[in-house]
Amino acid sequence: MADGVLFEFLHMEMVSHVFKDQQSTNGEMNNKDRAVCTSVLEGMGFRVGQGLIERFTRDSPSFKDELDIMKFICKDFWTQVFRRQVDNLRTNHQGTYVLQDNKFVLLTQLSSGKQYLDDAPKYLAYSCGVIRGALSSLGLDSVVTAEVSLMPSCNFQVT
């Protein structure tokens, strides 16, 4: 049984590697490079999210509706994957959800200084993929984005 901290270290190093790798081929990093990096990380997360749901839910799940699925994501899934529950779930009842995690596990290692706010998206891309992958395996196609206004609090938007 692997200790949770191993995932955090691995994730940090993965982000670092993906960005370093892209930088070395192009010399500098522009927005397009950044987009490539976040896309690579998001893609990795997607497959892992799918894999996690396949392992979690051996009996076929019976969710009443979309909201039920989102609640599962916020509670059980979030606890298994991000070590706590989502603090706040909001929806416009038209297919958009905002999941707020006030102490997002992958942001707590980073300093809360302003310069890290700009970097935060790097550290959220993989998780967005994991969530999108999980939802996909649960039958929901979505777009998942994340934003940070105050470290280490983070909002994931699912549409």
Binding site: L10, E13, V48, F56, T57, Q80
Partner: protein
């Protein structure tokens, strides 16, 4: 009704690791290069993981390499991977030993595809051990001698003590 395993996110770690290896295989042309990247990344993790280890275990300074081996197998592996490899095959000089892992948590559900016969899937572990020990002033060589993914019965990591490192050398990322 969903059946969830009791809390453990080691699946997250092993799946993430698998996704990483898959991505590296896509990015690099040959297994040799992937092995190198895994080792490098492991090193970068190891130099930080050691602080976590020292903070959470109550292990003091090891007197010799034998003690180091025991700490790695019985404390570190247990703490981080939930397994206790056995320590065997000591060299006569006492500077080299093997860790035998009956099962390797990294490789649950993993099969190596045919065109990756020289891939050392778990090579990150070698880098982690090397990086961590460097931070406690030991230069070591770490490599896989046997690998269940490649058909061996057990997974064997061979560790060799190279030399003591001066304390004032700066260490950085590779």
């Amino acid at each position: 009704v969903l059946v969830l395993s009791s809390y453990n996110n080691s699946e997250l770690f092993t799946l993430t690791y698998g996704a990483l290896v898959t991505q590296l295989c896509k990015d690099y042309e040959n297994d040799e290069e992937v092995n190198k990247q895994l080792d490098k990344m492991g090193y970068n993790i190891g130099v930080r993981l050691i602080e976590d280890f020292l903070a959470r275990s109550s292990v003091g300074r090891c007197q010799d390499f034998r003690e180091t081996a025991d700490v790695i197998a019985k404390v570190a592996f247990k703490m981080y991977l939930g397994i206790t490899p056995s320590v065997t095959n000591w060299s006569p000089a006492g500077d080299e030993f093997s860790l035998i892992l009956e099962n390797n948590p990294l490789v649950d559900f993993v099969e190596l595809p045919d065109n990756h016969s020289t891939l050392i899937y778990s090579n990150l572990l070698c880098g982690v051990l090397r990086g961590a020990l460097e931070m406690v002033q030991m230069a070591v060589d770490v490599r896989f001698a046997q690998d269940t993914l490649r058909g061996d019965n057990v997974t064997e990591i061979r560790m060799k003590f190279i030399k003591r490192i001066e304390e004032n050398l700066p260490a950085g990322d590779e």
